[in-house]
C-alpha cells in the first residue's frame, strides 16, 4: 500500500468553508458565464425603456414627476425577480443535474446549504440590479438618495421574503415538475406587491415586499436613513422577511419529504 489512508490528514469543514464554497461557486459561474447576467440586465433595461418612454408619452409631466418612485419600484422588482427565479430555477437545475441529492445528503443538513445558496443569489442579484439602477438613473436623469448601507439592508430584507417564495416554488417544482414553469409567472404578481403601499392597506404590510417597498421608497426618495426609521417598522420588515423565508423553507421541506415518500426526488 503505497499511499497513506485517505482520511489521514483530512479536517472537517466548518460553516465558513461551506459558505466559501457555495459563494465561490456562484462567483465563478457569474464571471465565467456573464452572458446570463448581461442578458438579464439588457432585458430589464428594454422593459424599463418601454415603461419610461411609454409612460412619458401617455402621461407627460405627471409621469415625469413620479419617476423616482418608478425607478425605486423597478429596482426592487428586478431584485425580487432575481432572487425568486434564481433560487427556484436553481433548485430545478439541481434536480436535473442530480446534484440536489448531494446537497440533501450533506452532514451540514440541507437548510444551511440552501440558505447560503439563497445568500449567493441575493448577492448576485444586487450586483446586476445595481447596474440596472445606475443605467436607469442615467436614462431618466433623476436623482435618488443612495445611502448604500440603508438601501442594502432595506432592499435585502425586502427580498428575503421573496426568497422564501422561491424556495416554496422550487419545492413544489421538485414534486410537480410541470408546475415549475407556471410558478415563474408569479413574479409578475410582485408588481402588485411592490405598489401595494400606494393603496395604503394596513394588512398589506404583512405581504411579502409591500412593507419593504414602502420603506425603500422613503429611504431612496426621501433620504431616510436606517436608524431614522421607526423601530416597529423595521421589526415588521425583519418579521415579514423571516416569516416568509421560514414558510418557504417549511413548504420546501414538506414538498421534498413528499417527493422522498413518492420516490420522485431527483427524478426528471
Amino acid at each position: 500500500m503505497s499511499n497513506p489512508p485517505a482520511s489521514d490528514a483530512s479536517r472537517p469543514a466548518t460553516y465558513y468553508h461551506l459558505a466559501r464554497a457555495v459563494l465561490y461557486r456562484e462567483y465563478l459561474i457569474f464571471v465565467r458565464y456573464p452572458a446570463n447576467a448581461i442578458g438579464g440586465i439588457v432585458i430589464g433595461l428594454i422593459f424599463f425603456g418601454f415603461l419610461f418612454y411609454g409612460g412619458r408619452l401617455l402621461a407627460g409631466q405627471a409621469f415625469t414627476d413620479s419617476i423616482e418612485g418608478l425607478v425605486v419600484g423597478y429596482f426592487l422588482w428586478s431584485l425580487s425577480v432575481g432572487a425568486y427565479s434564481s433560487i427556484s430555477n436553481d433548485i430545478g437545475s439541481e434536480v436535473q443535474w442530480g446534484t440536489l441529492e448531494r446537497h440533501v445528503m450533506t452532514p451540514f443538513g440541507f437548510a444551511p446549504v440552501a440558505l447560503l445558496k439563497g445568500v449567493a443569489k441575493v448577492v448576485r442579484t444586487f450586483l446586476t440590479s445595481g447596474v440596472l439602477l445606475a443605467v436607469m438613473l442615467l436614462v431618466t436623469g433623476s436623482t435618488l438618495q443612495l445611502h448604500l448601507f440603508t438601501v442594502v439592508v432595506i432592499a435585502g430584507l425586502s427580498i428575503v421574503s421573496v426568497l422564501g417564495l422561491g424556495f416554496a416554488a422550487g419545492g413544489i417544482a421538485v414534486l410537480y415538475k410541470r408546475i415549475g414553469n407556471w410558478l415563474n409567472l408569479l413574479q409578475f404578481g410582485f408588481v402588485g406587491l411592490i405598489s401595494a403601499p400606494a393603496f395604503d392597506l394596513g394588512w398589506a404590510k404583512l405581504l411579502p415586499l409591500a412593507h419593504g417597498s414602502a420603506l425603500l421608497q422613503q429611504a431612496m426618495v426621501d433620504g431616510v436613513r436606517l436608524w431614522e426609521f421607526d423601530v416597529r417598522a423595521l421589526a415588521l420588515l425583519v418579521g415579514v422577511a423571516v416569516g416568509y423565508l421560514g414558510l418557504g423553507y417549511v413548504v420546501f421541506r414538506a414538498a421534498t419529504r413528499r417527493a422522498r415518500r413518492l420516490g420522485v426526488l431527483g427524478d426528471y
Binding site: 489512508p5 483530512s10 479536517r11 466548518t14 441529492e101 448531494r102 445528503m105 452532514p107 413518492l262 420516490g263
Partner: protein, 371 residues
C-alpha cells in the same frame, strides 16, 4: 488482494424473519477494530450501535417500499435485509424494475421506506441523517452528479466541502485522485468540455473527493468504451483497497460486477434472491465443463464417458460429434486419459465456465416464473 475482506452476511428472504446476523465471513480479520481502544465510550457519544464496532459498514434490516395504493400498488423493495462489511465491494444486480435504484435511494434516505432500518457505520440514517451523511456519498445513475460549468478540480473541492471536509486539507489527495483517474491533465478544464468517459470519471472523483467511507456507484461504467470501463474498474478496486472503502456497485454489466466485486446481491421483484461471492454463485450454477469435438466420439466412447462423468450435451454435425462433460478438478485429467486411451483424435477442445450472467438469468428467471 490484501486489505479486503470478503465478509458479507445476509439475512435475505429465507431467514429474514429471525433478524439474526450471521457471520458467514470465515477468516474475516478486520484491522479497523481494535479491541483495546475506547470504542465503546466513543461510539456511545457518537450514537453508533454495535454494528459499527463489528466492522459492518451497511446494515439493512427489513427494508420495504411500496409505491401507490390498492390493486395498482407496486412493491419495489420487499423486506430486504443484509449487512456489508467495511472494505468490501458488493455488486447489486437485478433486471430492470427489480428495485435496485429504489433500494439504493432508500438506504440513502432519498426515498423514505415504509418499513425497515438502515445503518451506515452503525449510525441510523433515518434518526441521525447528518451524522450518517458524513460517511456516505453516491453516484446515481443517469445523473451528472457534478457541475459541468466548474472545472474538474473545482468540483472536487466543492463536493469535498459539501461532504463535510475542508478541501485544503485533502488537496494532495485530490491530486492523487486526478492522477489515478487520468484526469490530472484536465484538472483545470470545465467538465462540460470533457468527453463522456471523462465526465463519468469526474463524477466518480467528486464522490471520492470527501471522506466518505461508504460509496454507492449506480452504473458507473454506463456508456463507456471498453478501455475506459477497464480503467474505471481497476481504479475502483485500487481506491477501495487503498482507502478501505466500502463500495456498493450497481450495474447491468455482468463483466464489471465480476471484475470488481467480492460479492453479489441479486434482486428480483424487490426481493433479495441471491447473496454470495461471485465464485460461489458460479459454482452453484454448475461445475466447469469440457467441450470436445471429434469424429472419433463413437457411441461406445460416449457410453464410457457417460458412465464415468456427467455428460451434459451431445450434438452431431456431419461426421463430427461434440460433447460437453462436467469436470470437477482432477476429473479433467481422467476425462483426457479416457479420450487418449480410446484413441480419440480431438478436433476442438475448450473449457466452459458458468458465468454470472447464467446465474443471474437462472435466479431472476426462476423468480419470475414462480410468481
Amino acid at each position: 488482494m490484501t486489505g479486503r475482506n470478503r465478509g458479507l452476511t445476509a439475512t435475505g428472504d429465507g431467514d429474514a424473519g429471525d433478524g439474526s446476523v450471521q457471520s458467514s465471513a470465515a477468516g474475516v480479520d478486520d484491522p479497523s477494530v481494535d479491541p483495546t481502544d475506547d470504542a465503546g465510550e466513543r461510539d456511545a457519544v457518537e450514537g453508533r450501535t454495535a454494528t459499527a464496532r463489528s466492522g459492518v459498514a451497511i446494515a439493512v434490516d427489513g427494508l420495504s417500499k411500496r409505491f401507490g395504493d390498492g390493486p395498482d400498488a407496486v412493491t419495489a423493495v420487499d423486506d430486504v435485509s443484509f449487512e456489508i462489511r467495511s472494505g468490501s465491494i458488493v455488486g447489486l444486480l437485478g433486471p430492470n424494475g427489480a428495485g435496485k435504484t429504489t433500494l439504493v435511494k432508500s438506504i440513502l434516505g432519498m426515498i423514505l421506506p415504509d418499513a425497515g432500518t438502515v445503518e451506515i457505520d452503525g449510525i441510523d440514517v433515518r434518526k441521525r441523517p447528518r451524522a450518517a451523511y458524513s460517511r456516505v456519498d453516491a453516484m446515481l445513475e443517469g445523473a451528472r452528479n457534478d457541475y459541468w460549468r466548474l472545472t474538474v478540480r473545482e468540483n472536487l473541492r466543492y463536493f469535498a466541502t459539501i461532504g463535510g471536509i475542508d478541501p485544503d486539507s485533502v488537496a494532495e489527495r485530490h491530486e492523487r485522485l486526478l492522477e489515478q483517474l487520468e484526469l490530472a491533465e484536465y484538472a483545470d478544464t470545465a467538465v462540460r468540455d470533457l468527453s463522456r468517459g471523462m465526465k463519468q470519471k469526474v463524477s466518480l472523483a467528486s464522490v471520492l473527493a470527501g471522506d466518505a467511507s461508504v460509496v454507492f456507484l449506480d452504473e458507473p461504467t454506463l456508456g463507456l468504451d471498453v478501455e475506459s470501463t477497464r480503467t474505471l474498474e481497476r481504479e475502483i478496486r485500487r481506491l477501495a483497497e487503498e482507502r478501505g472503502l466500502t463500495v456498493v456497485l450497481s450495474s447491468h454489466n455482468m463483466d464489471v460486477i465480476e471484475a470488481v466485486c467480492d460479492r453479489v446481491l441479486i434482486l428480483s421483484d424487490g426481493r433479495l434472491v441471491a447473496d454470495d461471492t461471485v465464485d460461489a454463485l458460479r459454482r452453484q450454477r454448475g461445475a466447469q465443463s469440457l467441450a470436445v469435438t471429434s469424429r472419433d466420439l463413437t457411441a461406445d466412447v460416449r457410453a464410457d464417458l457417460e458412465d464415468r462423468f456427467a455428460v451434459t450435451t451431445v450434438s452431431h454435425s456431419g461426421e463430427s460429434t461434440s460433447i460437453e462433460i462436467e469436470v470437477d478438478g482432477a476429473e479433467l485429467y481422467d476425462a483426457m486419459a479416457l479420450l487418449r486411451d480410446r484413441d480419440v483424435r480431438i478436433d476442438r477442445l475448450s473449457t466452459v465456465e458458468p458465468d454470472l450472467e447464467d446465474v443471474f438469468v437462472d435466479l431472476t428467471g426462476r423468480q419470475e416464473s414462480e410468481r
